[in-house]
């Protein structure tokens, strides 16, 4: 198990390094950063002055090295717009996003996995149809629309939940449902397909022939094998939730990292955008790594290969 973890860790670091270079390069791919910073009315001299102040006149690799070295120490420079250190800005916004992401994926897994298992036990039964309907609806419904409907019904009509903000845990209920419901259909369908496949396998017949009860057959013998692809999918979904919850954060006025990314792009706040891209990518890398380790624990065949 340990060699496997070390190998995956090395791979993750390599990917992280590559991603950091790409996210740094983005600065130069979107045109001359000095000109963009100076604004439309700036003269050529102003642009040159800005170029020198920000160090854009040095070779790109030197700039990258310096940026990476500071980034590792947690220094992402200063936001052009907020005039605050990017690191503290992101740290503050990430709290909301991470809380929302963890709640969202938990909600998605807690609804999708039991529903997928129930649907697989009795294919084409009522519960299978209901699960299919829920997943199709979840996939077809845009998040912003679903969010607005929830606000209209639960906040305005019934007055049960606050419509927006992040002050208390009750503010997170609706955003969690919207975000989680977005991830739920894929997880549910994958769980169902995996369970259907595994339940027809020979080793499940062996488990029954041993005299194992149905619960033991389903959860000890079948689910452990069926859940393996779900783990990988959930890791990607989790990364997506942390980086891409912009829509949900906007609808519910939660000022998280996704919202910050949207603002910063609109304002050409390059250090913030760079740092956010790097942070979001790191989340993907970390979750993929964790999913690999979890899968290797679930399936011994992965450890040796």
């Amino acid at each position: 198990m340990l060699p496997f973890i070390l190998k995956r860790l090395g791979l993750a670091l390599l990917v992280a390094f590559t991603v950091s270079f790409i996210s740094f390069s983005l600065l130069f791919l979107s045109g001359d950063p000095a000109a963009a910073l100076a604004g439309e009315t700036a003269s050529g001299e102003d642009i040159e002055a800005i170029r020198r102040v920000y160090g854009f006149d040095r070779p790109m690799l030197v700039q990258y090295g310096e940026w990476l070295f500071s980034a590792i120490r947690g220094d992402f420079g200063e936001s052009y717009y907020f005039k605050l250190p990017v690191a503290s800005l992101i740290a503050e916004r990430l709290q909301v996003t991470m809380l929302l992401g963890v709640c969202g994926i938990t909600f998605a897994l807690l609804t999708a996995v039991p529903l997928g298992v129930a649907a697989a036990i009795r294919p084409n039964s009522l519960i299978d149809r209901v699960a299919l309907f829920l997943s199709v609806a979840g996939q077809a419904m845009p998040s912003f629309w679903f969010g607005l409907i929830l606000i209209v019904v639960f906040a305005i009509q019934l007055g049960l939940l606050p419509p927006s903000g992040a002050a208390t845990w009750r503010h997170f209920i609706m955003p969690t449902i919207v975000l989680g419901y977005y991830a739920m259909p894929a997880i549910m369908r994958l769980t169902r397909a995996g369970m259907l496949d595994v339940l027809n396998s020979d080793f499940i017949r062996t488990a029954r022939a041993k005299g194992a009860g149905e619960g033991r057959v389903l959860f000890k013998h079948a689910l452990r094998n069926a859940i393996i692809p779900v783990v990988s999918l959930a890791a990607v979904q989790m990364g997506f939730m942390l980086g891409g919850s912009i829509v949900v954060e906007s609808v519910f006025a939660l000022h998280g990292a996704g919202f910050l990314a949207w603002e910063s792009i609109a304002r050409n706040d390059l250090p913030t955008v760079q740092a956010l891209i790097l942070v979001f990518s790191m989340f993907y890398i970390v979750f993929t790594f964790l999913a690999d380790v979890l899968n290797a624990w679930l399936d011994p065949r992965m450890r040796s290969s």
Binding site: D202, R205, T206, G211, A212, D299, P300
Partner: protein, 331 residues
Amino acid sequence: MTDTLLSVKNLTLNIPTGSGTLHAVRGIDFDLKRGETLSIVGESGSGKSLTSLAVMGLLGKSIKRQADEMRFDNVDLQTANRRVMRDLRGNRIAMIFQEPMTSLNPAYTIGDQLTETLLLHRKVSKSVARARAIELLEKVGITAAESRLSQYPHQLSGGLRQRVMIALALMCEPDLLIADEPTTALDVTIQAQILRLLVDLTREMNMAMILITHDLGVVARVADKVAVMYAGELVETGPAAEVFATPSHPYTRGLLRCIPQPGKTERGAPLGTIPGIVPSLIGEVSGCVFRTRCPHARPECRADIPLRGDASHEFKCIHPDGALSEEGEAA
């Protein structure tokens, strides 16, 4: 306590399909005494695996089971509830399957899977179960048994996995072992070893065995009794020696011609084949099922065929016993 361990009378299995009911098994009878080996022989699709799964109570939900009697020792298998069946399975009736490569759970160690059976049925500690697992792995001829416990199925070869499956089946010292083509998926050299192992173990533990196979060569070496199945019916049953000496159903004789016999089959001579294919069992099935492939088929074969022969050696064919010479098989 009676001597008969398993008794099955008039077992019928029907499978509803889109194009009608598939009469997979039709009215078969067999019984088995303690320590006895019954071999069910037949080609693919003859219903032998379904019959064994019916005894285990592991048929798919869509399959309809009917029987006049299905009794294991003093348990009525037809009326037994799920709890009773679960207590029997793995404990008093154990089963080995055809596919050793996929019959073990890839996610758990050999040790986990072996001890699980014992822990399910007996109130014993984990260390006792572990000791039993090691003892059985040694008994089925696995070296370094203790270190195998922490290995996973994918680390073992097919032959080793089948040995593990046998050890698994024996964990609770069952009274009846059902082996469904246990050697089919293995190399020829391993087949003989596994078979010998099964025979030795049944003798040593006084265990009854139902050996399902399509290989008559296997049957001749191990079985006390033979039941020949064709298209869902038992066409001939009897003591193995008698069935081999005087096969009375044309299908049995056909099967016997398909295998080389040392001393009888000439070198280079072609082996026999049975022309034709198994008839469809969807819809009404009547008369002799083998008549479409039988060289002696007559108009009377369309009628229902009664069982003939004496109580121990029975067969389902209207032809006189002299049919053997009529076929001119000796030539």
